[in-house]
Amino acid sequence: MNISESQASSELTSAPKTDKPKARKNSETRGRLLRRALGSGLLTVVVIALALIWSVPTFGLFVSSFRPASLITTTGWWSGLIPPWNFTLQNYIDVLQAQGLGQAFVNSLIISIPGTFLPMIIAAFGAYAFAWMKFPGRDFFFMGIVALLVIPTQIALVPVLKLFTDIGLTGEYAAVWLAHTAFGLPFAVFLLRNFFAALPSDLMESAHIDGASHWRIFWSIIIPLSVPSLASLGIFQFMWVWNDLLTSLIFLGGNPQRAPMTLSIANLVDSYGSNYPVLTAAAFLSMALPLVVFFALQRYFVRGILAGSVKG
């Protein structure tokens, strides 16, 4: 009797669900549908147009970087698209050989890779503690870290530089790694903590009962389930470090042997007035890697990685 009752009630509750879309469809007039189709079509056109306009300068840079220096200075980049084509790799050869940007590219990698992974790992540990461990003052400290987001990097430059000079770190890669880690942590902890905290608590409790320690839960459950947030954080942090000029300029102390791309490109402008042809190739080289990183990690931005763990 009770079974039939609950079945009846479940039918009752499910019935309106199926009725709703039908009713909506009927009430919707043809004119409204047409307007909606037009609206979404128009939106698509606008978005595509904006994206095209937005990428024109980059495209221009790309085209210019393959044109001979003499033509770059005399005609606009668009005339390069008209036959006869005069494309050349000379700018790239100049940049990599004569200007020593090859070394700068390697330097950028040496700075960016630890500068990305160090804050990610530390932030992940911190975020786990803030999300899933109980300790006194937890919320207070987390608020403190969030508050640090509003403090501009520039305020800390002088004291940190003094400290690094005192302990002999200035001019070393480690100085830049540490600086990027410290400056990147507040945002990284904030992002990861919010993601970790949104994971269902049943999972952690179940793992505790299964016998897992915090360490084990972190590596076996939190990290595999957080790939999307880790990937987005990785992209953010990598872009930030790769494109950074200020931190390297201050903490590497003008050591050209260790200068990253950003610093070397800036120096190109200084020493040659503006060596426009070489600059185009250099700029494009510095953009290439972030693009690769973005497209490589893009596939991790998949939703529904939690599907099937809990019903909801």
Binding site: M1, D210, L225, L306, G308, S309, K311
Partner: protein
């Protein structure tokens, strides 16, 4: 041997007391159901056994050991969660094996145990799948399997059926009962559904407001509810309550007199208790199944003259085939009666209902306590 014992346990969250002085003795291999409305503290009790919450006061024993302050993983318990709590990135096999791997079981033994559990639960075809490729019922079986492989001393289940649809719920209910008979482990099961409680429990603890209202076998709770709350909570449709009852003597027999509604004779064994309570505010209670159309009872002739009956007017009649669910009004109160389909009832008419006087209940209106 794994009995679970609560010894005067209290639990307070932010100064709000959610569990008040609970003492329960769950016997070894017993299936105990904690049932009550939401917020009654039943899940908190379960989580305190698991070690996910610590009691504010009092002691919890598993076996002979006080487990206050003992880590969940060292309590030798297994828990099934309402939301399954499967690890989404692991296969069914890995989900079940996780707890064993952490306890450093040898690989061949892990495989053996997981396969045994999979066989019991019919999960062999799914061992290589991820949770998201399973249906709700299959996921819940994986959650059960994860608990089984541990061979823990105590099984804890937190509303494991509430996310399943009605049909599956009934089927899984039977599966859990079978499972308990097979693995013979102490089980503590939390639910808000009194049907689950009645059908599954060896004993039931009814909780309300963090206090145990009654602890006993299902039939005991049904036949002899300790107070109005238990009487109204156990049984479906719920017991009818008619306040304003008086105890008096009619035709030389002690009776419950319901002004303007009718009268019911008190069974002999309760006469003394009824008379002793005569000067209190009383509420009369009768279950819908213990009411019947007077004409059908007379026809049976067993009861001779009808000495216990109430009058009511019929509001709605629902015919379920095997019985009639009749909604009535009597003395300004709505009541329900479950009648034989042969009963002559039509909406809008008056009816005289025979009351099975052996099955009546009397409560103190002010305290809620049962007089009998």
């Amino acid at each position: 041997m794994a009995q679970v014992r609560f010894d005067h346990v209290y639990k307070t969250f932010n100064k709000v007391e959610v569990v008040h002085d609970i003492s329960i003795d769950v016997k070894d291999k017993e299936f105990l159901v904690l049932v009550g409305p939401s917020g009654c503290g039943k899940s908190t009790c379960l989580r305190m056994i698991a070690g996910l919450e610590e009691p504010t006061e009092g002691e919890i024993y598993i076996g002979d050991r006080v487990v206050n302050g003992v880590d969940p993983k060292d309590r030798d318990i297994a828990m099934v969660f309402q939301n399954y709590a499967l690890y989404p990135h692991m296969t069914v096999f890995d989900n079940m094996a996780f707890g064993l791997k952490l306890r450093h079981f040898p690989k061949d033994q892990i495989k053996k145990r997981v396969e045994e559990a999979a066989e019991i639960l019919g999960l062999q075809p799914f061992l290589k799948r991820k949770p998201k490729e399973l249906s709700g019922g299959q996921r819940q079986r994986v959650a059960l399997g994860r608990a089984i492989v541990r061979e823990a001393q105590v099984f804890l289940m937190d509303e494991p059926l509430s996310n399943l649809d009605a049909k599956l719920r009934v089927a899984t209910r039977a599966e859990i009962i079978k499972l308990h008979q097979r693995i013979q482990t102490t089980m503590v099961y939390v639910t808000h559904d009194q049907v689950e409680a009645m059908t599954m429990g060896d004993r039931i603890a009814v909780l309300n407001g963090g206090v145990i209202q009654q602890l006993g076998a299902p039939q005991e709770l049904y036949d002899h509810p300790a107070n109005i709350f238990v009487a109204g909570f156990i049984g479906s449709p719920a017991m009818n309550f008619i306040p304003g009852a008086k105890v008096g003597t009619v035709d030389g027999r002690t009776s419950v007199i319901l002004e303007g509604i009718g009268k019911v004779e008190v069974p002999q064994i309760y006469e003394e208790r009824a008379r002793a309570a005569a000067d209190r505010n009383l509420t009369f209670g009768i279950r819908p199944v213990h009411l019947e159309d007077v004409n059908l009872v007379s026809a049976n002739s067993n009861h001779g003259d009808i000495r216990s009956a109430i009058d009511a007017s019929v509001d709605v009649v629902e015919n379920l085939g095997n019985e009639l669910q009749v909604y009535l009004t009597t003395g300004g109160k709505n009541i329900v009666a479950t009648l034989d389909p042969r009963a002559h009832v039509t909406a809008g008419n008056k009816i005289r209902l025979f009351v099975d006087s052996d099955q009546i209940h009397l409560f103190d209106t002010d305290t809620g306590e049962a007089i009998f």
